[in-house]
Symmetry: T
Subunit: 146 residues, 12 copies
């Protein structure tokens, strides 16, 4: 049974209240239920964290590096500014999938560049809560095909 | 039963021969079988085309616009250069998902910018032949949730 | 009686269906009727083509170069990406007028640069179907003043 | 009978003396006659001004804003440097057509960007004195089709 | 006996008519004769194509990939815009030499960047019809030294 | 009793008519009343000018330099283009506060750069007519704390 | 009685020790007294925090979002680097005023761009401790005029 | 006896009061005396104007174009922003020498680019009031050597 | 006896596990032993911290500012993104030496720019664990030469 | 019998020792023998120099300008930095062919721009020692066709 | 009697042969005579050098630093590429005047930036051999006014 | 006993006279004594050269390549402009340490980019004459640990 660490970046705890025309009406607890349900079907174990601080995300990656077989991460605003999180993913050497609720390429110019994408296995962007489900499947596909 | 138009861009007919360290060992016929198999499970109908010419992709999008409910497109090299294909997707007003075999953000700088992404529903990049399967699922999620 | 080659670029066959807030409600056949009517009044002969492929536009320019005295071209998406069409206009040495239905300077940044404009006689942009009519008049003014 | 305010920007009073290989041999009085003649045929009334100062152009636009139904403007050098004139056109909320004698896209790089074009109805560039005539027609087409 | 595929890009069929101060007075048939004559002397077999469409060049490279031992290509305008042709050369894994009639570094800024050069064996630019002859020799040198 | 020169830049005479979604419904006379009322309370004397020309603003600054103890300036469009006004403020060596009705950082990219800000005491942007009142208070705070 | 959350960003606890030629001689406790005094006069309630971590600022904004009617924030160094704080302000949908002690446009180039300004109501920069007082007044003006 | 039009741009009337560490202690009347004295020695006639408005400089160049054989111009702030003055110098076809009191290349980045220099005969920068004297001599050298 | 605060930035706790081809095989405890040993020889006292959060680094600098005579800092990923840490070093006014294990100029483009270097005494980059030892010596040289 | 001056730029004396994966195993004496042999066959006379200094290359071009009918130059590192050598080639007015052992467009970004190419007859890049032989032939073709 | 070191940069020995449409018909010996003649009239002593190597110019500046009171330098191509010569001028602390025969702002873009100008007293550009004479006068003005 | 070649770049012979606020009061002979003293202690042999010419530095590196085990280089101004010296270091394949007296990142923007750093073992910048001593130690650490 593979272990997947799921990380939600800054402000994602406000989902459902926050700009609904961009992020949809769903809330973080509902997304987490969806992730847990799909994890069960796929027979994988998940640990889910929501963290607002870049340093805490770096620390959790370091701390869980022996437990986790894969990382599912929505870095939110840190997608575009955090070299530290990218370095962390490289350092722990665990395959990571980057997901986004909204299509970041439809938004402001500064959201088009991801510092995380070059160190991730791949990126899934634009499918609301389904981005997480597709990301879980992508991780499982990768871990099991090896 | 939804209709999905699947478009493979230039050079994808050479898959399996071509730089295997980037694109993997699979071939286009094998990918197409995978797509058809998953389409059957999802109860959707697919039409698959491989086209080397930007103008032919524009034309097929125009021609199939009444039949198709969704578009699954790997624009390959045209991802980075074709405003015409992006305009086509806007013009036919059909939801499109952009997929890539390789993680384009791990490659040369000029492959980091997609002209298609801002007009697509979303983008999936980096999961080999699974990118297509995940893309189909994303389209079905979108079409059925509406 | 002067001969004018009229070229409509990619996706213009979808006019009237396509983003009406930008391109208006008119359709390509209606625009072509307008062109033919004005041509008759101006006592010029027109040949009209709609082509989705950059290469076909290059070829038609080469093929019609002995027949045509002037070119009226709406290069659509190729306005911003095609050095080949610009080279073609230089190569055939026939005066060309570039027209656009919408005001390209009111739209996305990447539509502000025309690769065709520096090799054209002039540019008319923003007057809907009237851009073509004004373009015909401009060509006639130029051909007859010589 | 529509009212059109025609504005000639800086240095246009020197036309005919000035670089003839770029601007042609015609003079400003001859262009104004052409404008008046075509205005009569189109049954519109025109007021024509030549102004060297950016601030005067801003002031005349403010002053004539109740009289004018349309603006025909050749902003000359201010095309590329004046946000104030662009703001003025926005402020008076009157449709404006930007015209140029020469094809500005055939000239120096700094003449390729127009600050006026994004706030104008459309742009006509490259047809000598005919640019003004075509511009008048474009304005009439717009005002009468509303 | 090595097989060399010779590809002439867009507008090269108009050589001899086209801007003679840049491309010289020779015509495409004369260049092809020169190529065939030198090929005979070098004891190599050539197939020569002139194609205006980016997609057709991609297709011919795919189609001839088993026959050809080397590629001699003048990509003309596509030199500066086609990632698809560059990907094609990488995909077919055949050594390619890029040639230009004119010295592209003496011309407009946008002609200084070649997307083909980084995937070619080498580049020869500026020697008129002799660029092709030198290119053939370079290919033979490379194929025979291996 | 301190003397404050208040300068309204180009187009501000059209306030109230002009794009109300950006600048609000107030008019220039109403703003001037507000300024005069607050000046009285603060026991300062004001002179108020609205000028459309960059050169006139330069001249008024020169002319009033002996009378004025402080400058309150809304340079409007000249904020982004006038080195001459910035030089003027430096030359007269009088503390200046730059104010804007709208938040210029929420608007087009070219409005984000102020040439005036680096020579001003400070900048206040985004509070409608209150920007002027806050600016007066800031000037008084600065002049009286010295 | 409106509730205002006042946030001081990183290093502002060192005020008074830190580069006095830029930030003045005042200390954070003195500024906080000034804020509390003015708040009392304006009949508003304030909560004041000084935080060095980007993630903590994001968290406090989330936590206080139901209590606060307005935000007064000096983001200090995060002004120029934090998309997360800007996203937070958008997410909590509370009007925010950005203030700076020094005139950031008089300093290094990298301090001229604020990522916070486009999501704030407005910006006040350059008036030392008075920037906070003016910011409070601006918030009150905005909240009471609604 | 050659006629030289001497133009001082915006803010130069404040010389002597204005930033003395950059412009020196001399005043405009003293500079004009120096110019007149040297003109007498060189047996040339001068007309001297100080103008704050870009439009007025354009107008004076137009108005004096039949009288003047040469132009000596210190465009001050307009050096870096005025295409209109540059166009004026081209239009009147009179040799112009650009002078600056300070060395503009030792100052802010935005003062390093002159829009006037490419249309002037030459540029002299950095020698205080002597820049004018040297400029007069340069003009005389040019006019008499022809 | 001088006091030196040694700060290891984010992810440095993973040294020895992390990309060994870049950072070498040594671990953080081994580096700390080396630092302590050399400090003893140089007769200085050290305090060593490893921190993953930008805000914590800012706080520790503030907190230790009265104890520390010098700072030895490897800011890791924050080298390239943290204005807050740079501001902190300026604010505490203690000489700081920036060190890197790897030669940052041999790596990705975004690692070539250090925001810390301009506020540090100097920078040492590329000598593995020896970078720290050399850094200690540099600090001692500076503190004792004063 | 034409005279050709052959110039090898800096570091080319180290060929054969130096990065062999880029420059191949051949040495400079072997290349010179190849050049002399081919020169003999082509009935031209050659003078060959290897020079490490930019100034010496400028001097040799000046000194040999009366003897030489053509120049064959591998400017090595000076390709990308020397305006002086480019000016020299312009000054002596002798046709020059630029050659490179490696394909400079496959290497670092800063090697893609040649300052020499715009003043040369043409460029040959990527064919190892054969680049020199092809360059000799190109020069002979040019000199004899005149 | 002041001592002036006159330095002519690379290729200036070829003057008179070299592109006459840019540099005029005069030769270096004639210019040197002109300099010596004017020096005599001004009662100054000159030493004149023409050097092709950047390093030699650096060396001569170092060597003559005790003799020279002023430097008159035409750095030719090194104007745009040599930080070493600029550093040299700073290091020897002798006032330097930069002169150019042609107006460098009328030429290619890369000739518009001078690395020497920011460390020179001033710059004179565009007056042929007179640039040197004016430069001598400027130096004398500066040295004698001190 | 390891052999270290020490190279001082252009203008370093003027140390002690030259801008002392940047480079300190020490002279080159004093630095060389310091280097020789430390070399003796470390039991290494040094050869020290000061060279003003880029080409001479290239030549000395070639000439001493068999003698030297390590290179200690302060490339001074050539740090930022010389690809030739960087190529030389690559060509001779000897570990090199780049040192600077001043902190180059505290100075002008053009001094922030080193062309040498990417080919050096590491860089030490900002510690005056100690930079050389630390550089020697770094080289010894590297050579002895191998």
């Amino acid at each position: 049974m593979e272990h997947i660490l799921v990380i939600h970046g800054p402000n994602l705890d406000l989902l459902g209240e926050r700009e609904k025309e961009i992020y949809g009406k769903t809330s973080l607890p509902k997304i987490n239920n969806l992730i847990r349900k799909r994890a069960k079907e796929l027979k994988i174990e998940v640990r889910i964290k929501q963290l607002n601080s870049e340093g805490e995300i770096v620390s959790i990656l370091g701390k869980e590096r022996r437990w986790a077989d894969g990382i599912l991460i929505n870095p939110a605003a840190y997608t575009h500014t955090s070299i530290a999180i990218a370095d962390s993913i490289l350092a722990v050497k665990i395959p990571a999938v980057e997901v986004h609720l909204s299509n970041i390429y439809k938004r402001e110019q500064f959201r088009h560049r991801s510092l995380i994408a070059p160190v991730a296995l791949g990126q899934i962007s634009g499918f609301g809560e389904s981005s997480y489900v597709l990301g879980l499947e992508a991780l499982v596909w990768f871990l099991r095909k090896r």
